[in-house]
Every structure is written in structure tokens, then in C-alpha cells.
Symmetry: C2
Subunit: 451 residues, 2 copies
Amino acid sequence: MADNTLVIIGGDAAGMTAASKVRREQPDRKIIVFEKSQYTSYSACGIPYFISETVKSAEELVVRSPEEFRKKYKIDVRTMHLVLEVDTDNKKIKVLDKEKDEEIWQEYDQLLIATGGHSFCPDIEGQDAENAFGISTLKSGIKLEKYIEDKKPKSAVIIGGGYIGLEMAEALLIRGLKVTLINRSEQVMNTLDPDMGAMVSDAVRNLGVTLYLNEELKAFDLKDNMIKGVVTNKRTIKADIVIFGMGSAPNTAFLKGSKIKLGVKDAIAVNTKMETNIKDVWAAGDCAETFHLVSKKQVYIALGTLANKSGLVAGSNIAGEKSVFPGGVGTAVCKVCSYEVARTGLLEKDLKAMKIDYVTATTKSKTRAHYYPGAKDITVKLLAEKKSGRLLGAQIIGEEGAAKRIDVLATALTHNLTVQNIIDLDLSYAPPFSPVWDPVQTAARKLINDI
Amino acid sequence: MADNTLVIIGGDAAGMTAASKVRREQPDRKIIVFEKSQYTSYSACGIPYFISETVKSAEELVVRSPEEFRKKYKIDVRTMHLVLEVDTDNKKIKVLDKEKDEEIWQEYDQLLIATGGHSFCPDIEGQDAENAFGISTLKSGIKLEKYIEDKKPKSAVIIGGGYIGLEMAEALLIRGLKVTLINRSEQVMNTLDPDMGAMVSDAVRNLGVTLYLNEELKAFDLKDNMIKGVVTNKRTIKADIVIFGMGSAPNTAFLKGSKIKLGVKDAIAVNTKMETNIKDVWAAGDCAETFHLVSKKQVYIALGTLANKSGLVAGSNIAGEKSVFPGGVGTAVCKVCSYEVARTGLLEKDLKAMKIDYVTATTKSKTRAHYYPGAKDITVKLLAEKKSGRLLGAQIIGEEGAAKRIDVLATALTHNLTVQNIIDLDLSYAPPFSPVWDPVQTAARKLINDI
């Protein structure tokens, strides 16, 4: 097409990062963004803090509004537009204008799919009940907050103990609800090894959450499109509201009839340039796969950091530059009241599955010099290849000052550093910030004995 | 000698780390430690916090007492023993027993020199005055604290605006003194570039410190061995107490007649095994040189982290293992009231001296998501080689949550990562901990435009 139109599906992190990048490099390029909600560029990760009223208004979570993109960036953002179908043979997409209830076809020269993810929920009757909430979009967060405000629910059942489940547990405790969390496996936070996950389970119970492990959602006890109780394999739990915290799934159902290849967990298959298998079609963010730099496999990880990075790379390549998104190592952090949890790299179960001979060490130390006020407990677990000593994974649980220490280990993992390399690092020390051996080095000093 | 005696001079970080390591590997080895004070293994870095009464007693700063080393570790620790002379030809040292006022000769098979450093002071009359204090040893810290308690001084002049000077400014402000700091160069903290140093100067002034830059100590106004005023090239400043914060110098004067080679700033010249030029003589900690991994030069850096690491390596090699201390990158952090300052690697002046073509970028962002309560300002400056993009230095100034971010950059520096590598790092993010792009990556994203 003569006007070289870039069409982007999805107006959040990956989509708008790409749109902004293309606009910077190609000031006159025609860019159309279709966004199904009325919001663009908001922090989905901030929603639990809006629910807890730590953040006072939903608007604070919005980085840039559709209006701002239209005026300042000359990007044609069309909110309340849901894309229904992609026809890559004819380079066009079918879009529903939700306000006018009209379907239109839009042609593209290049297409970026950045539709994000949604809160996963098994196909059980009642998942659309009035008091059931996923919180993957700002709209769903606002809906939940309004429900709490209007209906004053007294009890909540959270299904799933991942990051979102735990952050929502904190939020609802702060709002004064009685919180029950059910978790299918034997530990919350299955991105940790069981021994570390057990510490988080203890911490969550300490906060006053009723925690049922090894329990699976079987059905909802429904009345007039309202959930009255959550039925598990062991009991029925009364619930004024139900929260889905079972993790994210990619928004790719609309691609099922298209020629665009889906990969792991139905995320869009991409290469390191964020290209799909179809020429001129790109994908980025929570709807796409990520290459895992340690396991060397494509994985599905829905995280704002990866969405921003992959969106930037997609935008750069669409604008004609040559950029590569090498991938991630699965770094993530989570705060649950005073507790901080962090992880990066592979777990013991991953290493067993890959038949890698590994060693681990776990050490407990302090976030500051032992004598400095406010020194908190921090537990660091490291996993390394036995033969080479190469770091393969790390997990941290502690209180204030614990979580961000994972970044050194994420850096180490990414660049194939060994446990000895970690001991040798010239990390910063002063009594208000650290013991003289940083806790990550204390763990490395223990682990080196097994290598 | 038959009993294979290890003699260690100095009973603090490097010396006792080495002693403990040798004891672990060689349970029956004869180990004698001569320590000039009555204390072993204390945190000299904690002294400012003892002065400020943040730490209530000096004993809290002691990790292990001489008694504990003697009983639990079977290490013959002799406190109040000052080593006067080393005779490497005859493998013996001359020691003054300060309590008995007796000189003895002690033979050694292997010798580790770990005498540490002292607060540097130019040779000016009055440096030994009753109200003049260096605080490089626990003894000197206790003396100062007692003086403040007994004499209730109202004003202090700190000479030198390095880490110790600034930490002491905080401590004395907390104790209610009027604090004046004089600094020879145009900025405090000369381990930062001038633009970043100026921000620290502003911060220090904000705290209520009277700061005189470009002012040099010329003399003390003395009366009865008490300093009444500090005379600079511009004025005389009334002082009830004077603190030396001009940095550290190695305790190596007693080696001047020996065959042991001194290097940079009279620190003991060592190789990566912590061996001196003389067989069976080792050195570690603040009395020895450190290899700088970025400049590839021997430097003098007095820091607890390097003392512990080099002491461990010395001990390991003395015990017959094969260990290497690769060196440091000059990482350091400092807290001054609510401000945090961190640095690693080289400065602009270093790069100019080395004729390296470099680029820099400085960005201001937040320590947490912009909407999350407690998000503080953080300014990050990066320096990189223009041609390759390799990171060469970094400096951070901010408030809570700022300083420890230097560790990722120290890791990056040590392993030759480029600015693009830093952008690609999978660093952790959740709203309570970071913006979605960590501040160090925000700086890298700006800098990449110049590479």
C-alpha cells in the first residue's frame, strides 16, 4: 500500500512502546492502534495497589492516555475496538467498533500483534459471575474496586497462589476482607523450589491468610449469576468475591483460524526480531513467546519488563533498524506485605528434567550489617551446574532490601558467570546497605564447597 | 622451622579472615596474630554509626573477640602488641608488648601482613591534639564517643569530604553538633565526577552542613594541645573538635627498612595470590595494593569488602590451596542521612588520562513505580567506551533504594558488558521495587544513542 500503514493490535505496554519507537524513527508514518478497552499504556502490575487503595485513583496507573498519543504523537489510537480476525493473505484485519457495534475491515502493510494476556481460568460455569474477577486489565481492576466499594464484601477466595494471587491477598487484607487462598499444588508460588515456596506459604499464613494447599477448584456454588461458594476437591468455601490468580494466558484465540503460528501455551511463535512466521506480521508482549536464555527454550512468561523490551525491539525493526530481543531469564519479584520474594533462572525441577547435574546452597543472612538498625532476614538459594560451577538459578525470600538483590544474579545468569565469579564480584558495602559479604555472596561461598 | 608457624600482623578484617581460613584447612597449624589494639575483627565501617548512637555500644561492632579466637579457633591472638620491624632474611619480626613495654623477636615460617590503614593527615602541628580524631580504629572511635559524651563539644570541623567525612557529618549532626566540612577540591566525594559530586555537595548543604569547597587546611590554632580553630587558605573556623576525613593511608611505615616492596601510595605490592616480592611473606587488606579490573592498574583502595576477599585468598594460599584475588572495580556506597551515593569503575578524569574515547549519559528517574508510595528520586550516570559500548563506570545518587543498584553495574563492568547488554538484562520489576525499566536501564537507553 502506498501509505505504508502500520497497524498495531493492543494499546498497552508492548503495543504503545512499539508505536512510540516507530513514531520517533518515522515521524510521518501512518500508525493505527486498535485497543479493546478505553485505556492505553497503563501499568497492569499496579492494579493490586489500586485495589488496596495504596494508589488512590486508577488514572495514576495510566502512563499516557489515548488523547495524548493522538495529539502529541500523531498515533491514530482507536479505543473500544476489538480485533476479531486476521487475514494475512489479504493483509487486513476485521475489527469490531464496540461503541457503534459495527464491524470494519482494516488493511495493513505491517502488523504488530500486542494483545497481551488475560487471567487464566478453567472452563467452569460461573467464571463470568458478577462477583468473579480476573484483574489482567485496568477495566477489570476498576470493576473490582467499585464492587468492593459498593457491595462491601467480607470474604474473598483467591484461586491460585502465583504473583497476582499473593499481591491480591495483600490488597484484600488491607481492605479488611477475610482472605482464603486455594492452590492446586503443594506450595504457593510454583516459580520457586518447594523448600523456598514453603517459606512463602508460612509467611502468607502469618499474615492471616487461610491457605489451602493441594486443593483444586472443582465448581462454583452459583445463585443468580453470583458465586456463593467455591467448591474444591476437599470442601466448599463461602465467598463474597472470587479472584482468579492462576496466572496469565495469551490473548490469541482470535488468531486460531489464521496462518499465524502459535507456540508454547498458544502464545504467538516469534524469532528474536519479534517476527512471526508470516512476513510483515510481528508480535510482542504477553501474547508472544519469550526465549529463555538459560534453558535455551521458548517459554511463556507474561511480565511487563519483557513486554516493554520486546515491544521496543519490534518497533525498532518495524522502523527499519536491526534490533534483537535476546530473551529473558525469568526474573520476577513480588511483595506480600512485609515479605519480599524474588527468583531468576531455572528451578530444581527444570534442571532434573534437563538432566543437568546441579548443586544448591541456601543461606540465611541479613540485609544490612548485623548491628545496623533495620537489618532484616534474607534467605538466598543458589543453583549451579556441578561440573562447571555456572549459576543456573537463584531465589530470594526476605524482608525490606531483599528482593532487588536478585538483579545481580540475573545479570550473572545471563552472562554465564560461575559461583566463583559471584564470590569475586566487587559488590557495594556500607553498614546501612549490606553485610560486608553481600547475602548473594554468602550463598555463593557456601555453594563453592560443593563444586 | 619444624612447627611451621604462621605469623599474622594485624587482627582485623583481612588478618582474621585469613587466620580463620587457615584454621579451617589446617586444624593443627600454629597461628600467632599480633594486634596493636585490644580488639579483633571489628567493623571499622560501623564506627560513624557508633558515634551517632545509631549503634548503642562499641561491642556490637565486634564480630569475634580475641578470647573467642583463642578458645574456639585455637589462634594465639596477642593484643596490645605492636610490630616494629620485619627481618625477612632471618624470617623474624620485632614486636613491642605494649603492656609489659618489652620488645621480643618472633620467628615465622610464613608471614601475613594485614596491618590495615589509618586516617590520613598532613604533617601539621596539632594533628595529635586532644580534640583531633581520626576514626580508622575502634579505639579511636571509642575515644571520640567518650569525648563527645564528657566534653559536650558544640562544633566540629571535618577535614575532607570523602566517605568517612560525610558519614561523620551525618553522625555529628545527629549528635547535635554544628558541623563544618572543608574540602580541598571543588567537590565533596572526589570518587565521583564533578557533576555528580556537585549534587552531593548540594545534598550535604541541605542537611545543614556548612561546606567550604576549594579550601585547604593550612594550620591549627593551638592552645595547650587543644585545637581552637582550623586555619585554611581562606579563613579560621572555630572548632571544639576536629575530624580527619581525608581518606586512608596504609600502615606500612614499619616496613621502610625491610626488603618488602611497597607500591602505590606506599601500599604493599602484591600479586593476585596476595604474595609480596619476598617468599613466604603475604599481604592483604588496607595495607596492600588492589588490582583495578577496569584500568588494569594497581591502585590503593581501603575497603572492608576488599580486605575480606584478599584476606580469604591469602589464607587459602597460605593453607596450600590455589586461590586468586582478581581485584576490584572500585565499588563503594555511602549514606548521608536520607541520601545514598554509589559508584563503581572509572571516572571521566580517569578515562581522559587513559585517552579513552568515551560517552556518558545521566538520567533522573524513580526508585519505584511512579505511582507507588515512597518512590524516590534516583540519578544514574553511566560512562562507556564510544567505539565498543563497553561500560567503564557508573555513579548513582538518590534516596532510599538507590545505592544498591550499583551492584548490577559493578557486575557488568567486571565482565565487560556493553550498554546494549545492560538494556537487554532481565532485571526484576514490581511496582514497590522499581519502574518497569530499572533506572540503570533507563540510563543505558539514553546512552545507547551515542554509541
